[in-house]
Symmetry: C2
Subunit: 491 residues, 2 copies
């Protein structure tokens, strides 16, 4: 990293003075109380920034980055702070650039696109689209809190992604501030382009390490007018996994297929429909959508038939739909209400490997004595094994998480399906991407941010895997309020 | 470019000897007759390579690139040679690496993915998927000839892209040979990943200038079991354009919406349905797909109603479907049979700007006396204005094409929607991407191919726009066979 030490008080002081000039004094946060929220995200990690700024425009963001770059001080972009991997935690101190004031939101219905500032809450974007009969599909569990800027930085997923794809599939235009402070405008309102490198895609999912995205243009799609929901239970986990793969291969194209394993079903047992088969190894919640009510319901019934479960419920009303979703949706809240600590992972495997992955997690639980329950987006192989543990078991968690990563990779998967690498998983990145893969990424980083100004200590490994993972574990979610927020996110 | 001159006979000779060692003598082409097909693509451009090689594996491709890099000789990857922008024409001579022998093709139905060597014909990939009830959606007009490797290099589109997206939306795994000859494996059979930079996306659409993709894993989707087709005619062009935007915004999600303007309708007048309204300014061919026959037909009827055209035909049988497509599909063949030369462009504009773009093309035609007819994929704003001209008008074509580019850019569009930049459009790239956009692309190029070994003289501008465009025009498709092939491509 070419960043300068801040031991020199005058460098820091001069930079802050300059930032006040750029964004105005009221938008520069310096006092410890005000800085509290900029120290952490939804993980246990934390680190104090030099200051936080809340620019009101792309030009102000550019000015801030240029000033910080000139001073050799790191810059960390921040959305709503809902990251589960330490993404926006300012590990190298420096300037936190909060994008919360960039809230431009315009739907262009004639072109079926929307333009949104990085600070727009993702659910608000989808609601604005809905007012025109349109939809912004990617729906991370945090989408009522997280911002489109944060979603773009992490290439967020969600439940609807099995049918509709992830954030990267929707971004067609972008304004990004480079490490130099220059403003680069990419793409526009165009849905199809084969002109030059896909630079825009490079910034998506780069977790603020290549540039700071201040505004995006996203594609919208027609909003389906009808939705139908079913719950299908399986006595054998293998049958559930095989059923998902079989149904997708047979031509069913559901809007969601969520899975809960035995452990997670135990947690939410009282939310299951009355009389639902007890002792199941897995439950799928399946949703179908479309414009014609009858055919949506028919498609769902055919899919349920093909899934061939041991207990099926098909919702006959929107009230019944909500009830079927209750078990899946209450998972996070139930966790929160428990006296135990928990740690939620985010791995993915090819869909045919889902039963094997869940089995491995169960074996790991049996071997370590840790309680590990798994929910996930089965349709794209994205599982969230969640480790529940007592204070005394803390030392086991790091090794267990590492084993989950290794198992996912062995099965052809990834250590992060929708949360990013951040600081929490960076030391495992090379296990997934290999030395050459990391070297290519590093060359790209050096080409776009030669001084290492943007979000240092993220994405790239700094130590061999295992040596440092979760070393700050003693600071584990000490604050009940932060525990509550975390429980509502990404699970 | 750091490439060495080949004036030294011994460098060239030694390299060829080394290539024979790597791929075997029978797969190295050196004689002028054998090299004929490697000199050109589907444009008028041509240039003789030092030699062509046809490696049989990724490892052989890697060996070839390493040997060429060591000798400082450029390498140009080649698929089926159907490029319409000079992409695979070896302008700096060097070694053409034909990927036609990389024909591995495996459908993994349980994971709804396929693995394909770069040399697999795209239609064959889709057929292999169809055998499992699956579909590979991107369908460039050339897909019966072009290869998946070429499609990936150019991020190809097609008619189904309005609903299903382009090539880049389907690639989830990749083997790529870097400029150093190292083999990088990216992704896998996983549908969702938020781990590290989106390096894979960078290679897609980079036209062989950042690496040579030898194998890909692509997502497949359930193949819709039913298709319904309609033709809708408009007396006023504006009504057609407005209708497309209105229907998409209102929740219709067609599998294709093709447009033919007045000029193109004149060319294919005898292919229109009997008694179809004469003197129309535009015709849309609309397709709807899905699993339930009745609801697919119903959706189409509702959409046709909303399009509110002046003459509508809805196919009642697959024979009628074929007949409705005949007008659109015969366009290329009709061009071929005409005594005139033609030049087909590939621009895109935001969908609401389609009528304005077509009007501007018509104004240009009136001003220059050139006959310009337009067909296109209206659903994503992708238009192919096609200039028909006599030998005596040749000097006008270059300026007319440049004006079409400028008009598309002025309307927020792109100079290439699905063909790439290649050599033919490189000098216009900066008009679209700006100096900073080009500089960022160049930094990426330099980071991944510092010696400029891979496909030189493509993508990046070498002269100011207009100075050189189409300068080789006198060589315009002299060969009737090549004219025939071109007519079947991309129109």
């Amino acid at each position: 990293m070419g960043t300068r030490s801040l031991s020199s008080r005058s460098v820091a002081g001069q930079l802050v003075d300059r930032l006040v000039e750029i964004v105005g004094g009221e938008w520069v946060v310096r006092d410890p109380e005000g800085l509290e929220e900029y120290r952490h995200d939804a993980t246990f990690m934390e680190s104090a920034p030099l200051c936080a700024v809340r620019p009101g425009s792309t030009e102000e963001v550019a000015g801030v980055v240029a000033a910080a770059a000139a001073a050799g001080v790191p810059v960390v972009a921040r959305g709503a702070g809902t990251s589960l991997v330490g993404g926006p935690v300012p590990l190298a101190a420096g300037v936190v650039v909060s994008l919360d004031r960039l809230t431009l939101l315009e739907v262009d219905a004639a072109n079926t696109v929307a333009t949104a500032g990085a600070g727009v809450i993702t659910a608000a974007l989808d609601e604005a689209a809905a007012a025109h009969g349109l939809m912004y599909p990617p729906d991370p569990a945090s989408y009522g809190m997280s911002t489109i800027g944060g979603n773009v930085a992490c290439n967020s997923g969600g439940m609807r992604c099995v049918k509709y794809g992830v954030t990267a599939d929707y971004v067609i235009g972008m304004t990004v501030v480079l490490a130099s402070g220059q403003v680069l405008r990419l793409g526009g309102k165009l849905r199809k382009r084969a002109s030059g490198y896909r630079t825009m895609q490079l910034f998506i999912g780069s977790e603020g390490t290549l540039g700071i995205v201040t505004e995006v243009v996203v594609k919208l799609i027609p909003r389906p007018r009808h939705v139908a929901t079913a719950m299908v239970g399986f006595r054998r986990l293998e049958d559930a996994g095989a059923a998902v793969a079989r149904a997708l291969a047979a031509g069913h194209f559901p809007a969601a297929i969520e899975i809960l394993d035995r452990g997670s079903l135990e947690l939410v047992a009282d939310k299951l429909p009355p009389g639902f088969e007890p002792g199941l190894e897995a439950v799928l919640v399946v949703e179908q959508d479309g414009n014609d009510e009858e055919s949506v319901q028919l498609d769902l019934m055919k899919m349920v038939e093909m899934l061939d479960g041991d207990d099926n419920r098909i919702a006959q009303s929107s009230l019944e739909r909500e009830r079927l979703w209750e078990a899946r949706r209450s998972f996070g809240k139930v966790l929160m209400a428990m006296p135990k600590n928990f740690f939620a992972e985010d791995v993915a495997v090819p869909i045919a490997e889902i039963p094997e992955m869940i089995r491995r997690v169960q074996t790991l639980a049996a071997r370590t004595g840790l309680r590990i329950v798994t929910v996930g987006h089965a349709g794209d192989g994205n599982l969230h094994p969640t480790i529940l543990f007592e204070d005394a078991q803390r030392d086991l968690v790091s090794g267990a998480a590492a084993q989950i990563f290794r198992d996912a990779l062995e099965l052809g998967g990834s250590i992060s399906a929708e949360h990013g690498l951040g600081a929490l998983k960076r030391d495992y990145a090379e296990l997934e991407h290999g030395a050459l893969g990391m070297a290519v990424m590093k060359r790209i980083k050096d080409a776009l941010d030669p001084a290492g100004i943007l979000n240092p200590h993220k994405v790239f490994p700094e130590q061999a895997a295992d040596d440092r993972f979760l070393e700050s574990m003693p600071g584990w979610l000490p604050d009940p309020e932060r525990r509550r927020r975390k429980a509502e996110l990404g699970l």
